[in-house]
Symmetry: C2
Subunit: 333 residues, 2 copies
């Protein structure tokens, strides 16, 4: 196990850009980096269907430079990346269903804009260190469990295809152009500041909302196994990956505590809430074609190489998340 990194030494006084920085993971990362003494800028499009929410920087907004801009707006990219020490590249369209109904938008954000960001780095800041937010969605329906980084990529939706391209561009630019980049393949990430308006970011978001509004949770299927990373653990992985040269040009899965079925998760969340109801429904027909079945990650590689491990158990993760939204609900509807 590698020695723990001194994050303050790595990040204090460093210039850091976060795309998607008003979003769920991006804003949690921004807050942590501010606490570590970094000079943080965020870019976010604030597209209403996506994860960006100004409330996510509540209390630290004065210490973060916020650019409301879309990564699809290429002419803005050179100025944004110039002079930055680190780029945490989290801007993305995350809805699998939206990627099927509006595939070109998914492509423009998750694939085309990623190449534009990398070109901007190549031409205007080749020294930058990048960590890219990839996704377990690119594996498709697993051949085996847990899924390690060697598992074939067989995307089941447009989002998966574009995320593969986005990830591949990062690794290619690292290998061929020397733009040091790492990709983290995230699984379901949960915690404060996630989108709860609907299921576009994660179904857990809309579950939280319904529980707090006294509505029953809808569990589709219920038997599927999933793993969940608490957002603080995900943030830790991004910080570790950016600061460690051993991560350059590599891909790592993030996982979490032992996987649970969706029905077990519903029970846990109802218990954590001190009450609530869930109903199990048949998996909707239109989503079945792009469903991946059971999934959980083998995340031992990032443990071995970077010393990361998930620290937050699922009960704690759910309790903290519920506590946040009990207080903040009205800012997230």
């Amino acid at each position: 196990m590698p020695a723990p990194l001194n994050f303050r030494r790595a990040y204090a006084g460093k210039r850091v850009l976060i795309t998607g920085g008003l979003g769920f993971i991006g804003s949690n990362l921004a807050r942590r980096l501010v606490a570590l003494g970094a000079e943080v800028s965020v870019v976010d499009s604030l597209v209403p269907e996506y994860g960006g929410n100004r409330r996510n920087l509540d209390g630290v907004a004065g210490r973060i430079q916020v650019h409301v801009a879309d990564v699809r707006d290429w002419p803005k990219l050179p100025k944004l990346v110039a002079g930055q020490d680190y780029l945490f590249n989290l801007a993305g369209q995350t809805s699998h269903m939206d990627s099927m109904t509006d595939p070109q938008t998914d492509l423009d954000i998750n694939c085309r804009a990623q190449l534009a960001i990398l070109e901007a780095c190549r031409l205007h800041n080749p020294q930058i260190r990048i960590v890219f937010a990839s996704t377990r969605q690119i594996y498709g329906r697993p051949d085996y469990l847990p899924v390690d980084e060697e598992h074939p990529l067989r995307p089941v939706d447009v989002n998966g295809i574009n995320k593969i391209a986005g990830e591949s561009f990062h690794l290619l630019y690292s290998r061929v152009h020397g733009i040091r980049a790492t990709a983290l393949r995230l699984t379901n990430t949960i915690g404060p500041r996630m989108r709860i308006k609907d299921a576009r970011q994660t179904f857990v978001g809309v579950w939280i909302r319904r529980l707090l509004e006294g509505e029953p949770i809808e569990v589709w299927g219920g038997e599927q196994l999933r793993d969940f990373t608490y957002v603080d653990d995900a943030v830790e992985a991004f910080l570790l990956a950016a600061a460690n040269p051993k991560a350059e040009g590599r891909v790592f899965n993030l996982g979490g505590p032992p996987p649970v079925t969706l029905e077990a998760l519903a029970q846990l969340i109802v218990t954590a809430n001190g009450g609530g109801v869930y109903v199990v429904r048949e998996f909707p027909r239109d989503r079945r074609k792009i469903d991946i079945g059971d999934y959980y990650a083998d995340d031992r590689l990032i443990g071995r190489v970077l010393g990361w491990k998930p620290r937050t158990d699922l009960r704690t993760a759910l309790a903290r998340t519920l506590a946040y939204y009990r207080r903040e609900l009205r800012h997230y509807l």
Copy 2:
């Protein structure tokens, strides 16, 4: 081995659209389809750096509808695909080097436009049958030889990443939306009507040109093993794939006669030409990073499923190609 298909029965009177139809393989396919009695339309951008050349339809131009249009011009696509029985989708940017110096253009053609073509089919002609020209480039440096369809995809350049996305979109639309599509992963294809101005389509093109102009051929490295498909054999594969329901939603490698080293190929081509000189040069530095080393395909799957096999040996392929360009050289410079 499946029974041979009656191509005339499959294609006579059928409406066929070929993107990239003034290009190398596209035009050979168009000519064959005209001979089989199909109603052929071609779309080609005639971008000077690509493969399109009006001379490629010499003698049959009156029997083919030619649309000079770019697949990046989305509004034109619905009208082009509507009412067609078959779409042979061969429009592409083929230069690996160009994909590194101008990656966004490669993306717009090989990835973004492919999705637009499929969306046009989904919305305006969901009954169409598509064969997509993919490439061995997506495998990257082989782990083992010959390379079968199960080999991991590890693209070494921007072109490879975008072609994976383009191919994946076809397979996804087949699986999820029922748009019947097949992808053929082509290796080096050679024959009449290939681009010989430069090495943008295949290095064999520029070798032919230099030989016929009395200049020495430059062989880079020389030890690399490669396989070559003669264009008539490639055309046969496209025709078989489109007409056989067993090909729907599937991917097949095309190969050729036994592989040869590049130096052996240079010797063969000099002999076929009845004279000429080749020089072996060190592999250029800037290309080494995106070179794939040895490659040859395992093409037994398409043999088993569709009954395809390469019929033309390499000497014959080279002799026919040289004969064509001896006559036609001035139209291809």
